[in-house]
């Protein structure tokens, strides 16, 4: 059966600007939506969603959503829930970091090699979640 637009998983990172973990959340989202699962996932601007943009609100309400947060405040998850989004799972960069302590990302503006590697590890985990949500059809 051909997959329809409605069956996409929407991935929303916090994109936090103060620390490397926010950059890693953003990079992991791009790795997932542009490379690993480009046909079955998409993303939306978190600020636009939180601003009440109707198109963005419809997108997160009509599709399953995965959030990726860089810090414990978990802005992406909280805002998707507040928006009435179809919340289906969340990831935290700090959890991926704890499982990969040999990687020590430092730079924020442009991710260093360790930051890129951690983003890839996280994106792989998110891809597994996408497959699970889509019944292994990715």
């Amino acid at each position: 059966m051909e997959r329809t637009e409605q069956e996409k998983i929407i991935v929303i990172p916090c994109s936090g600007i103060g620390k490397a973990f926010g950059s890693i959340a953003r990079e992991a989202t791009y790795e997932l939506t542009e490379n690993l699962r480009s046909k079955t996932t998409g993303t939306v601007c978190l600020a636009l969603l939180v601003s009440g943009d109707e198109e963005s609100l419809n997108l997160v309400r009509e599709n399953k959503c995965i959030t990726v947060d860089g810090c414990p405040l978990q802005c992406a998850e909280k805002n998707v829930r507040l928006a009435g989004g179809n919340f289906a799972g969340s990831f935290r960069v700090v959890d991926a970091f704890k499982e990969n302590r040999h990687l020590k990302p430092k730079s924020v503006t442009f991710l260093d090699d360790d930051g890129q590697r951690l983003a890839k590890v996280l994106a792989e985990k998110m891809a597994s979640k996408v497959d699970e949500l889509l019944g292994g059809e990715s």
């Binding site: 994109s15 600007i17 989202t29 791009y30 939306v44 601007c45 943009d53 802005c75």
Partner: protein
Amino acid sequence: MQLSEKKVGIISCRGEGCVEGTISRVATRLVLEKLPEKTVTICLPLFLAGGKEERAFARDYPTITVDGCEKLCAKIGTERYSGKPASSIVVTELARNWHCSKLNSRRKLDADSVAVAEKVAERIAEEVDEVLDRWR
């Protein structure tokens, strides 16, 4: 929220959906690195979702909003919750004025896009100095 020094809050949209959002994010970061004694940043999603400290800062201190596109999430959100920003920058407008038509890759900025981000950062830095001068 009170800081001992005069600082300008930079509120960037950093939209994930377009290259201009990435440029707004990178430009803001470059300013924070260049002018740490004059600037702080405010996390926009946290601010919009009701972050008390973020909103209090934006009420008590001057802000500069940096939006990637004409939807102006940072500017409109700041006006709605904390008052008019001291200055507002829109990347798409600047890029158009600078005749930069080939911005691409929201994920990893190419050399042209990095150059635009650096020019946007310079513009933000100029605005920071103007805002601080007016404040004195």
